[in-house]
Symmetry: C2
Subunit: 575 residues, 2 copies
Amino acid sequence: MKYSLLFGKTNRTAKEFDSINATLLQKAGYIDQVMAGVYTFLPLGLRVLSKIENIVRDEMNKIASEVLMPSLSPRDVWAKTGRLEKMDVMMQTQGANPASLAKNDSNYILNATHEEIVTPLASKFTYSYKQLPLALYQIQTKFRNEPRAKSGLLRCREFRMKDLYSFHKSPEDLKQYYEVVKAAYNQVFKRVGLGKDTFIALASGGDFTDDYSHEFQTKCESGEDLIFHASKAQLHFNREIAPSQAILPEQESEQREKQEVLGEGIIGVEDLAKFLNIDVRKTTKTLFYQADDQVVAVALRGDYEVNELKLKKILKSKKLELATAEAIKNLTGAEVGYAGILNLPDVIKVIFDDSLKGRTNFETGANKTNYHIINVNFGRDLAEPQEFHDIKLAKEGDIYYETGEVYEVYKASEVGNIFPLYTKFSDDFNFHFTKEDGSEGQVFMGCYGIGTSRIMGVVVEKFHDEKGIIWPINISPFHVHLIGLNLDDPVVFKKCEDVHSRLKQEGLEVLFDDRVDVKAGSKFNDAELIGIPNILIISAKTSGEEYEFKTRNDGQSRHLRLDEIIGEIKSDLYS
Amino acid sequence: MKYSLLFGKTNRTAKEFDSINATLLQKAGYIDQVMAGVYTFLPLGLRVLSKIENIVRDEMNKIASEVLMPSLSPRDVWAKTGRLEKMDVMMQTQGANPASLAKNDSNYILNATHEEIVTPLASKFTYSYKQLPLALYQIQTKFRNEPRAKSGLLRCREFRMKDLYSFHKSPEDLKQYYEVVKAAYNQVFKRVGLGKDTFIALASGGDFTDDYSHEFQTKCESGEDLIFHASKAQLHFNREIAPSQAILPEQESEQREKQEVLGEGIIGVEDLAKFLNIDVRKTTKTLFYQADDQVVAVALRGDYEVNELKLKKILKSKKLELATAEAIKNLTGAEVGYAGILNLPDVIKVIFDDSLKGRTNFETGANKTNYHIINVNFGRDLAEPQEFHDIKLAKEGDIYYETGEVYEVYKASEVGNIFPLYTKFSDDFNFHFTKEDGSEGQVFMGCYGIGTSRIMGVVVEKFHDEKGIIWPINISPFHVHLIGLNLDDPVVFKKCEDVHSRLKQEGLEVLFDDRVDVKAGSKFNDAELIGIPNILIISAKTSGEEYEFKTRNDGQSRHLRLDEIIGEIKSDLYS
């Protein structure tokens, strides 16, 4: 393709956006922002997106059947599953003006996900065990009412996604297929160039199950997730569920005298530690939660935050929220900020985090407004808790229980997730099947997503330098960027066209910068911004059999014969 | 592909829908209705849709660049062109529940078409004549607030469409490209199997221009458009703009005495003709229109309806609507229903349709409540009109002026349209360019649509029989339907698998009905319903080198060698 004919040129002086991918993809002419979180894919960008989607399709076709579900759906299917009111990214549609409303004033849901469409669909065609397992996927546009659409292709109101749904006759069969999808996903990420740095992290299974879900997380400096890696255990955890053991600092061996301290208006562990002149790890946070119909107290070391997902699981509660200031005052007799684990009414259940274990001479709130108590010790001032739990949000430096190793913590960007749904949706839609023995069975479901446009954004976040993008070959818009210089010389132009033809004959995709009125420096800069991994330069200086060949990745420039260049690109492409 | 593994089986006893394509596509397992006008494409249906879209893409890539614009857009671009309030199929989106609205309560337009997106986009990258002409297209999902979504894939709320937009530096350049698109469209319709019966019909250019637009209309019994074909002139007209000359029936040579007749409550030409015992073609319809700020009377032969598009053009009026009953009474002195062309106040301009020309002894309203006048004659009772116009809706039997031929009238379904927009949108978005001489030029635009999912529906409407669908080979979900019978016999099964492999090796796509527990009759019925054009049957009776080969189109069954069958299919496929 001749660059002069390409729609969507580079604009190296365009404004900077809030993320690297938004900036580089727009400067290089891949995408164009229509509004926050909504983009047009220009020809270059559409080539990349199509390549990603074709890789996804290729791997999915090995394990599932492709369908195309609509974006519009009736409200009643969402009411059935309880998500009509609950799902806070859901959008609806209706006529945009009085003329349109006069013709049809109904409103419809604009699908953010498709469980509510695919479950009745699968149920319509599935009667018996013979039709199971069943796996359906689509590559389609999704809509989400993001309040802060940002970070380019990473968080959009409208985006492209592959979603796969599977249906099984037993949880075992679901688990088996789940592993099949894991393998297929690994293939996808390998092929799009993210394989080396993409890991399966355990994450929350959400409301539907106590099991983990699995996120495919790509290590990336600008990633929005924090991953805790226990390398001996070969496990990666999303921070939201990472089990964590605190490291216990050295403790004083002697117990000091317990002391009540006036600390008027001193609220918050950092201020308190400074005021008391103690290590923040000596302080104790005591919080109260309304868990279903009981109020519980939770206590943890001052330098930790509560992880409500963990707490909810331990309490086996359906609803969990912080207790009101009024409820706390009623229970402790003190204003919020002075609650502690000493002198609490016996009726209150206390959940102790294991970061409290082994401390001597620690601080706690006095349950008396403005007062704190220091030099508290388990066994002396209050009974040693019978049980410690892990209810804290993991942080850097924490230990993974099972192996005792300190976590490696890294930032990552989610590129896919897989999720066991079990019978949540099949129950809602009364989707059952006839078993081998004639009895009725429950259908078990899983769902599996890959954001295809998001992958494009993540790849740019990960593979770029100060000059521009560096595409992995398999999703690069073209395989070779052919830069022609001195093109007003017909001999050079002819040479470029010959090389262009030859590369195309070899099945390679070429972007030929054929502009006559643009300087060499500009052409090099554009090539580096656009980021095609192989750059071939032909100018008046090119003579003999050898051509200047530059690899974008390492900036290395060599002189090679055309067949050597073709061989190198092909070996990269098919590796 | 093994039929046993295909998701979306035939359901021959499924309910009948309101159109042939909806019924057959659902019975055969191509699509599934999610709600009125909204469908899921099942694996078979998606194969057909993808083939259609790939053909479209292939032809479009020769003349334009592919992009992918979003479905969401901000309201302000629609306000700019005046379509925010005007476009009565437009939908908007917003949060679907309080939780979603609390996060973001903005609302966005859900695009029904993309002029408002593509014009600012093109303008962003186009500065001078050097970048023109420019042509951008996409294949994408469109949303329209159809009040009566019906006829399966023909009229949907959500549908697939290819839309192309072109930008030019002169109207001449636009016209030239317009012809290029016509040729490309003809190629598309030829390749999808509709070429022989698809014609370019002239249609209204809408509000933007006095020129015609061009519709690609496929002759089809169930088509919703009526096309008037003047074969000598080689022109097809959509009824909405077909020029029409009425045939004048034989007239009495003697003028009779004019007579006022009491016809109390007789309104409507059919009742009136019966009451007066005259040919309806002797009656006259007189109507009053508010055209911008004047009221005009229009008169035409009783058996015709007014074509308001024609009338608007003749009057050069921007707004045209029927005058109110009150206005008519004020003008004529009579209740509505008794207006006529005799004794009208001189100030009223009357437009006479040419169907009135040459009549003797005709009827007209008396402009007096309950009265009609018969045996009226031009030249005697009122002046012969200086001018006659064509303001009527054409009907079967009418004549095309230029050639004097009687139209051939046929029903057709629109499969594409092309439309000169001129400067409507470039003006709204202030899209100008720098000309060769440095001055500023206006950009001229055209737009060009093909409904890809609609084509699928039209093809089924056109190519089916009482047994099912008959696909043109290029868009058939598979090239060959291989029916295996007596598959419990491992020798037969092996033979089927060998033939299946061989056909695949030859690059043919095969649907192999491998079901063991289904009877021969059912398999034949399913194959005819599904409609793959070539059917190959292997059973215990198959022996030697020859196989039973059936062509779906003519039902013909022959015994041929495998290489003959392959040759025949390939010659069909690549012809």
